[in-house]
Symmetry: D2
Subunit: 339 residues, 4 copies
């Protein structure tokens, strides 16, 4: 159960409410976010929702049978809108485009990508400064200095920064220079990281785990939300299957399913989803038709020279065409009465 | 290696050619299809293609390093067009729509579906009369009499019939009443069935195996082609993964990959691909954007009363809208310079 | 529900019984096997088992809630014993060893394997004469003549023959020369083949599908049983997963699970299960400890020269040692009070 | 390449050596562990190993083509032995038994488990005080106070502590009370955690990722080793597949494969591997026969009352029997000449 509390609820009213819920056998977790205060009740017994609903200090009460609660559409039907400032949004009914290199490499590289994005009306840039690498001997990113460099260039041009956070200690140092913290596919169930991101007042984009279920992705989002942060975005980026003709198996089924279960916006990453440059545009457009609220893809001036992921990275000409096609496809999708 | 033979090659020329190829260590399989005669050479050593190419009786010679040969784009760049007669095609550059119930149930049901298809300009109807069922106690279909009934109604209206063949003995009895033999996901590697379908002069649509790789699907098509039948269609219908929120995981990555590897047309089945009625349209349109040459989906007047697969079956109103959206999406896709 | 009928039930009694079961909303399938006559009732409603149990002509009645019925342990607690004659059995409480080459290649090869088996007290020989191959250009086996040759040599030495049947038309021609029909992993859901094997009075060993679930394997066995043949053996041979360091992922979990759900004997195939010769013995012994009633593995005089699967085939010295270790491990397992 | 350095190598000699290796196009990582100093060279070109081998200050040089280097058997053939003190080891040729509850719950519970282990000669106890939970509302463990409580009781009885570390900040606080840091299946690719564990002089047991490959597990171990810690143990605990009849699919193939690729000891966790109490013993013994150097399983006085994982936890009577069977099975395995 989710109980939304009134802002002016007294401590005494809250204590009385918690006691009553405990008495029907529900364990209570208090959640305080940027947008509201909630009591989350976990239990299995049936109870009389009206009886509790009449208590003082309550704005609303909902029964949510899913394992995840606060990210469920069952209590919050209205889609969550992520406002990044300067008129940049990620939200249902809109089409966010996020593009940029796999790794931040140099000032020159950043400048070129930023120019490319500006020319094509793209307002959000992706890029990694902390790189999770399977091998300890591989390039691990430019680190916090790379992020500062990037920030100075991007901010001047009104470009928002989307970048991966790998561990708790990075959250604070990254904070001034980051618009969206990305949780990578290997950290989707790094619960300590999720807990800490709940304490931050910036948007968090959670990528689906390498072999994560849709349910687990929603549970991971629940961690951040219940930690206090409602600014959440979900990202489908392909799952691990037996098929090796593609890097991952982009599971576009997840898009309408996530949209039906949760009020959070859903983004598709076709670059990791297929891992083959010449097919990234098709899969991006497929993602749009599947119902995505945004597309995140990799672009670099000279993909062959990228420090990482060059094989799935678009050059600027391809990127420009794709951004155009994404917008046209989305415009058409809006004319259909899809769910 | 694939050697295309001239029609007027003499037996002596052919024998000399085979001998020469054998001498360089290649094993020869002779293939005779509706469209041509071929020698398929299997071996690993390097050889001088010009030397063999100069022999008499040869139209052309190609090196194909893939495990599959005749279905590869490496020797036949031009896409294969499946001509079903009466102006009905499945081919690259076109958008085939195939719709109909999971199971053929009754004359009345057939008539209603046929009318629905006619009204919406859909020229191909799917439906099962032989049903592969996991449980021996489930409904196994109306059998050959159902097919004859269906044929009489559909043919009168110019509707082509797409239906599953489960075993060798059915091929002949189904022949007069079938336009496209469908090989189901459980039979993709039923090699005897594939061999026998190679001897038939009707189109064959091969569904990807339940956990089949893209490579295996192409190898299965190679069986039919090398058996003598070039009229082949490939179908992505979802694969088995750990995810249970959907019936299967529709692998749309397979679409551009198959199109890049083979000259055969590729169809997408969103009904089995996601298994949830309200999301079938999104996945169909995603399939179009991924590059499919056609969409096959399930429709029934009253899906809730369908003998099988009702949960993933569209009603006629949904089907009519979807057919329209598929055509619009395809028209837009054609304006993009996608691969 | 499973109703076991008395042998002397009259047609009238049976008709009355079927009518009564139909009236409670259950659909009846009549099953007649080598060992008994059954009525299988499929339905969902609760009913009074005693009321039906009192009807005349009934030996026993059981409620079986699994999707599979006749292969379930819920009605037949006593393990099924497969008697191949001449004192050769596959059964719970015993350890069957089946060894032999992947493919039957020649008279000389057969003689050498047969001698090796005799010397090591192994009474069952595996080998393929019809080979399912992913590529149409690969060796497809010696066919029925190879089987006859093999039969003549093996029978003289008291060795039983285990060999794969690929299609319905082979069942009859193989019959005189076969002791156990093997259904391969690509045919586990070839339902027509399973139906026809139900009509035969010889043992059938069903391999788990390439990505088949435990439930599906039991359903496939149900096909054969409900077709009339109770002589069934289940075989775990590895499943397809994302892991590529081994050919398949041998799922030994399946052994105790299958044994707990079904009364049928369970065999493990470590050769296909791991696909790496030097590790086949470990996995065979692991299979014994997991609870297998038998082990089937590949052996050849010179594995490197085998027509197929050489990389996972033991030479005779390795095979002799393994057979000894299997017996010792099984003897120890019997001293443990495992389930 | 791996270059083992002499202890008395001079800075000048090392600089010269690094320069020479850089000149042939290899990137150098310096590694300093408890046991030695190494230079790891990453590159692809062929080079003259003798020429570099002649340089001063080198103990030995090895070419290792695997992606992982220091954990490979290619340079260190002798198996790694983990010495926990007081005569407790995890090593090849020995059989480690680690048992205990999923979660540490109370002083009373700890005392009972410790007594049970002592009575059965088990020297290592598992238990979680920091619990990774899919849902933020589930029990997350007793934390560091639970660990201290446990330590006081266990240490007095000579029992070693194996417990999960979830994040970097816990490493230091856990240090005085922990014998083996366990890296859980959700953290196998938490590279920051692995890096930091490289700086610790205590053993680390890395569980295979939920859908991790064998190669990835070795790469994760490479992180810790290259960070400075050679005291590593690998653990197979089941992988995620499509099969749902068991909690995970215990991949015992991984045991001989890991043992053949790496010098590190390999442990099997049958409790998580199958997730069903009555089948844990069979899978444990199967793990022994597959070649494991140890078994880790869950036990609790009253499994039904355990805070977590009760369904896969043995009671003490089952645990006592299993420990005995494990030892007997291992004693028999040693008599076989397995790889």
């Amino acid at each position: 159960m989710i109980i939304q509390l009134k802002e002016d609820i007294s401590e005494k009213q809250k204590a009385s409410l918690i006691q009553e819920v405990n008495e029907i056998g529900y364990k209570i977790t208090e959640v305080k976010t940027q947008l509201g205060d909630y009591l989350i009740g976990i239990g299995k017994k049936d109870f009389d929702i009206r009886k509790i609903g009449q208590k003082e200090g309550i704005k609303d009460i909902h029964i949510v049978s899913d394992e995840y609660k606060l990210v469920s559409k069952k209590w919050k039907v209205k889609p969550t809108s992520i406002d990044l400032g300067d008129g940049v949004y990620i939200k249902d009914g809109d089409m966010a485009i996020i593009a940029g290199p796999c790794s931040i490499e140099s000032e020159e590289q950043i400048r070129k990508v930023v120019s490319h994005l500006k020319e094509n009306g793209i307002r959000m840039m992706r890029g990694g400064v902390f790189k999770p690498r399977t091998s300890p001997y591989a390039f691990r990113g430019m680190g916090i200095d790379g992020l500062k460099l990037w920030y100075n260039i991007a901010r001047a041009e009104g470009i928002k920064i989307v970048t991966e956070v790998m561990q708790v200690s990075q959250i604070e140092e990254m904070y001034p220079y980051t618009d969206i913290y990305q949780v990578g596919a290997r950290n989707t169930q790094n619960f300590n990281l999720l807990d800490e991101l709940g304490k931050v007042d910036k948007a968090v984009m959670i990528k689906r785990g390498i072999s994560g279920t849709i349910e687990e992705l929603l549970q991971s989002a629940e961690y951040v939300f219940s930690g206090g942060n409602e600014k959440l975005i979900l990202c489908e980026r392909g799952i691990r299957t037996y098929e090796r003709a593609s890097r991952n198996t982009l599971d576009l089924n997840a898009v309408p399913i996530l949209k039906s279960k949760s009020h959070l916006p859903v983004i598709v990453d076709p670059s990791h989803g297929i891992g083959i440059r010449e097919f990234v545009p098709q899969m991006a457009l497929a993602g749009v038709m599947a119902g995505a609220d945004g597309i995140i893809y990799e672009t670099h001036e000279v993909p062959e020279k990228a420090y990482s992921d060059g094989q799935q990275t678009l050059d600027f000409a391809q990127s420009a065409r794709l951004a155009d096609w994404i917008r046209k496809t989305f415009a058409m999708r809006k004319t259909f009465e899809l769910l």
